[in-house]
């Protein structure tokens, strides 16, 4: 159909090649900091991808998605503190708790629309934030240091920086693949359809609520996985990771990259975090650029970077 070598595909391809080959450069030069930085980027891209499933495609603007990063991370952290360091126990439990949390929150929130939906997802995120702050045994606001990363019985050593990075990258690509399959399936059609016209979808006979809730749960679980990865990456978890402004950051990544595009969240994560790293070395006041940039994109460039790239080959 379309040409393969569009600007957009070239950029995405180059990015993926770069991400795949980064560890080689790092090991060769002995400079490990870029790997640390990009591991973080990949993990947050995973979180943003999960949010994009419901926000970008489903139009469900959840302003409390960072809560799942926290829930996933805290399951790993709490179990680690209590002596259970096996990843085979921690990670499935993290996913299960996130699924349960998403089920309950979604069941309540999805009854509302528009700004009320935004507010109520925010409220639930704040609630879980305060629960974490109140957990005195697990550090509360001071956070919890994780002394031993998730153990996988020798299959993979998460303390190995390169191994861990490739694991995160693999999981990100798997997530993007899952999202692409979902949105192009019947499930995806319903979600996307209900975004633009709720009533029509209902009239056709689809149980909208159930589909949306399922999407919500899947997105929550995916983000919980990102949380488990983040906790392992930083050897630390604190309530700060769930603050509503962090949910805002995820949304910013999606908007920057391109709402409702497969690789938009990854592009957005790379852009935002590289801006943060790079610009912050040039000037402390880099955020003064990001703010108006965001506003500009919202008003004029609705498709984000992905949209800009796609439009380069339109015609």
């Amino acid at each position: 159909m379309n040409a393969v070598f569009t600007a957009r595909n070239l950029v995405i391809g180059a990015l993926l090649v770069f991400l795949a080959l980064l560890p080689i450069y790092v090991v060769a030069t002995g400079q490990f900091f870029p790997l640390t930085l990009f591991t973080r980027i990949v993990i947050l891209a995973l979180a943003a991808t999960s949010l994009n499933l419901i926000l970008g495609y489903g139009g469900m603007v959840s302003f409390g998605h960072a809560a799942y990063l926290g829930v996933g991370g805290y399951v790993v952290g709490i179990l680690a503190k209590e002596g259970i360091t096996s990843g085979f126990a921690q990670w499935p439990l993290a996913l299960a708790v996130c699924a349960l949390f998403a089920l309950v929150v979604g069941a309540l929130c999805l009854r509302t629309r528009g700004v009320y939906f935004i507010m109520i997802t925010l409220a639930f995120a704040q609630m879980i934030y305060y629960v974490a702050v109140g957990l005195d045994r697990y550090g509360g606001d001071d956070g919890l240091t994780i002394y031993r990363r998730s153990q996988f019985a020798g299959l993979i050593d998460l303390s190995g920086k390169v191994q861990f990075y490739y694991l995160c990258l693999a999981l990100l690509l798997a997530a993007i693949w899952i999202v692409s399959r979902l949105v192009n399936s019947r499930f995806g059609m319903v979600i996307r359809g209900s975004r633009s016209n709720d009533r029509r979808m209902r009239a056709i006979g689809f149980p909208i609520f159930r589909y949306r809730l399922a999407g919500f749960v899947i997105a929550g679980m995916m983000c919980g996985l990102a949380g488990a990865l983040l906790a392992n990456h930083t050897d630390f978890i604190s309530p700060a990771v769930m603050h509503w402004t962090r949910s805002g950051d995820l949304i910013v990544m999606i908007v920057l990259g391109g709402v409702g595009s497969l690789f938009g969240p990854l592009i957005g994560a790379v852009t935002l975090l590289m801006l943060e790293e790079g610009l912050s070395r040039v000037t402390e006041y880099w955020q003064i650029i990001v703010g108006p940039l965001l506003l500009f994109i919202v008003v004029y460039a609705h498709g984000g970077i992905d949209g800009i790239l796609a439009s380069l080959h339109r015609g």
Partner: protein, 390 residues
């Protein structure tokens, strides 16, 4: 400003010589708070550290010194990130600073995992004095429980029968209140922990204090919180009714805003600006001349940290790769500390005196902190036997 320049300079060094193996300079990373209301503490520490470097001629063991200052924004996760960045990206030889115990605890693992020598110039959480102790960690301050324990002793001397304790709900706050309870003989009629760091309105807690009618109140509120608590204590009319005993709540950084409210309110400290040793006289005088302000204990501890680092680098003649030798040298505490000489315990925390300080109005009408008495000599923290090191 200079921080950005130093950071940019360090970045250029990193980028232009990727395989920099041999040491051309001594690199020190300094993590403290440089934004928000407690930036005044971070600035005091930076000024003092810088002054120490001036006194050392900007060289240690013949090598030029490079310091990279990073802002932890008073948040554990930010402090941790900055610590990691200093270690992994800037490849510092020493990491110094840390006002807040929770920030220090979050940043400990990256430093120790990378075997970077870490010096706390303020925070002294009980965990690091005990089970989390490490040969790579040194303190030039105190252990959190020690200072309030000294206050507790003083309260006994003053005949206080019962007390109400108030402090912030984070690692240091808990340590402090525990410290008072360790030495104070009287009854604890109330114990309040407030949200940290954003709760600066103490009306609820002050109402409870008033209702409990204790003989005395003990409080620990560093920085801006200390200013607010003290001023609100006075505004609520409590100062004239119930004596207040403090730790880390009144110091040279908070005094300008507490003003006359602070007169007559005692506190304990391991350093007061008028300690009669030569190093201290020079430190205070030169600080006042250079910065037109009085240094606080945060600054004094940072000044000592610089000299501690220097003693290590000198001992190995600039070969900072010899970490074990540097650690041995540091354990001797072989430098002129502004608090007078002290020695290190097995957990690398100082064994030192604690003094009673009070706020008085000088002949020129200016308020200042003065040493009133020595509360306890050669005090060692109570956690050193939980530490596995000998």
């Amino acid at each position: 400003m200079s921080k950005t320049l130093i950071a940019a300079g360090a970045l250029m060094v990193c980028v232009s010589q990727p395989a920099l193996a041999q040491q051309k300079s001594v690199k020190i990373g300094f993590v403290s708070t440089f934004s928000g209301p407690t930036a005044v503490i971070g600035n005091d520490m930076r000024n003092s550290f810088d002054l120490a470097l001036d006194h050392l001629g900007r060289k240690m063991g013949g090598l030029p010194v490079e310091v990279i200052y990073e802002d932890d924004q008073q948040k554990p996760e930010v402090g941790k990130q900055k610590t990691e960045k200093l270690i992994e990206s800037d490849h510092v030889d020493f990491i110094v600073g840390y006002i807040w115990s929770n920030v220090l605890l979050a940043s400990l693992k990256p430093a120790l995992d990378s075997k970077t020598i870490m010096i706390s110039a303020n925070a002294g959480p009980s965990q690091i004095a005990g089970e989390l102790c490490s040969s790579y960690f040194f303190s030039t301050s105190w252990q959190n429980d020690q200072t309030p324990a000294a206050v507790g002793l003083y309260m006994n001397q003053e005949g206080v029968k019962n007390a109400y304790l108030v402090g912030p709900n984070y690692a240091a706050g808990k340590d402090m209140l525990t410290g008072v309870k360790a030495t104070f003989w009287g009854k604890i009629v109330g114990e309040e922990y407030t949200r940290w760091p954003d709760q600066l309105d103490f009306s609820a807690e002050l109402s409870k204090v008033r209702a409990a009618k204790p003989d005395a109140v003990f409080v620990f509120y560093p920085g801006a919180a200390g200013v607010q608590f003290l001023n609100q204590y006075v505004q609520a009319g409590l100062k004239s009714q119930i004596p207040l005993y403090t730790a880390f709540t009144i110091d040279e950084t908070t005094l300008p805003r507490q003003g006359e409210n602070a007169i007559g309110i005692p506190g304990a400290q391991e350093w007061v600006n008028d300690l009669p040793n030569d190093a201290n006289k020079k430190f205070v005088a030169d600080y006042k001349a250079k910065y037109k302000a009085s240094p606080s204990f945060y600054g004094a501890q940072s000044y000592d940290a610089a000299n501690l680092v220097n003693s290590a680098v000198v001992a190995v003649n600039g070969d900072v790769a010899k970490k074990a030798d540097m650690i041995k040298a540091m354990e001797k505490a072989d430098f002129a500390s502004v608090r007078g000489s002290f020695r290190y315990g097995n957990n690398h925390f100082p064994i030192q005196n604690f003094y009673l300080q009070d706020v008085v109005k000088g002949p020129d009408g200016m308020l200042g902190l003065k040493t009133v008495a020595t509360i306890v000599k050669d005090d060692q923290d109570g956690f050193h036997d939980k530490c596995a090191m000998k």
